[in-house]
Subunit: 198 residues, 2 copies
Amino acid sequence: MLETIALERLKKALCALPGVGPKTAQRMAFHLVGRDREGARALSEAITGALQSIRRCKRCNNFSETELCPVCSSPKRNAAQLCVVETQADLESIEMSKAFSGTYFVLMGHLSPLDGIGPEELGLDRLQRLLDEEDIEEVVMATNPTVEGDATADFIAQLVRQHGIRVTQLARGVPVGGELEYVDRNTLAGAFRGRKDL
Amino acid sequence: MLETIALERLKKALCALPGVGPKTAQRMAFHLVGRDREGARALSEAITGALQSIRRCKRCNNFSETELCPVCSSPKRNAAQLCVVETQADLESIEMSKAFSGTYFVLMGHLSPLDGIGPEELGLDRLQRLLDEEDIEEVVMATNPTVEGDATADFIAQLVRQHGIRVTQLARGVPVGGELEYVDRNTLAGAFRGRKDL
C-alpha cells in the first residue's frame, strides 16, 4: 500500500469514534490532514484537554470539571427529587426540555446480563448510598422505554421502595407532534390504556 | 447549560470532521470522554503525529511522509503515464483496483469558478511544470464524471495537448454488477453511444 504509516494510524484511531467505519475514517483522515490542519490541531488539543479536565460528579456520575457537577451543586435545584437516567445523553435531553428541576443519577447503561452488565456495573451501590444518606422524596425513573430499560427501572424501583421512597416513571403515550398513522402498535396500545379524561 | 467548557470545546472541534453535526459530535464526545478514554488518547496522538509527519509529495501532491511519495519514487511504476485525479480519495480507489501502474497528479479539487477555485487553486502551474520537465507519453483524465469534473478535464486536456501529449479519459458506461433497471438515463445514453462490437 502507498499509505503512510501515520495516516494508517490516524484512520484506525478515528474508527474508535461511534458510527465511524473504515470508509468514513478515511474521509475524515484526508480532510484533517489535507484540508483542515488547523481544525485537526484544535481537535487533538480539545481531546487532550477534555481528558484532563473532565471527570464524573461523585454524587450523580454526570460529567463535571469539579468534584460536584453544576446540577448537584446548584442551590436552585431540588435535591429531594432524583431522576435516574441511563446515559449522559439522556440527561442532556431532559435538561434541554427544561421539564425537570431536581437532580440526577446517571447509570452506566442498563441491565444486560448477556453482556455481563449487572447491578454493580450500573453503579447501583452508589445509588443505594445516596438514598441512604440524603433525604430523597421522589425518584423519577427515566430509563429508555425499551425492554432493557424497563427491566432496569423495575429493578431499581424495588430497591428504592425498600427505602420507603416514592418511585415514579415518565408517562408513556403518543409523542407530541407525531402522526397517529405512523405510531407503532405498542405505543398506541399504551396510550389507550393510559388515556385521561378531557 | 450544565455542560463543562472542555466538553463544549471538544464538541465544537469534532464538528470540524466531515459529516459530523452537533448531535453526532455530542455522541462522539460522550463516547470519548465517558467510555473510551484510551481510544481518545490514541486519537489525539494520531492526529498530532499525522500533522507532523504527513506532507504532500512535491511531484504529485499525494500524501507522503517523504519528499517524494511511494508511488512517485517506486521504480516499478511507469512514470510516462500520468493519471490526473481530483482528490486523494480517488487516488486510493484507483490504487485499490490495481488497474493502473503509472503515476498520479492529485488536483486540489475541481474547477469551480463560483467557489473561487480556478486553475491556480488546483495546482495546474505545477502540472504544467511536470509536463515541461518530464517525458510524459499519456495523461489519463480520471476526474469525476460530473459537470465540474468534465469541465476540469476539458480544461486540462487543452493544456496537455499544447505539449503534444496524448490525453485519454476513463470509459463511461454501465457499472459492472449494477442492474440496468437502476442505472440513470445519462449513464445509459452514454453507454449506448459508446457501445462496442462483441
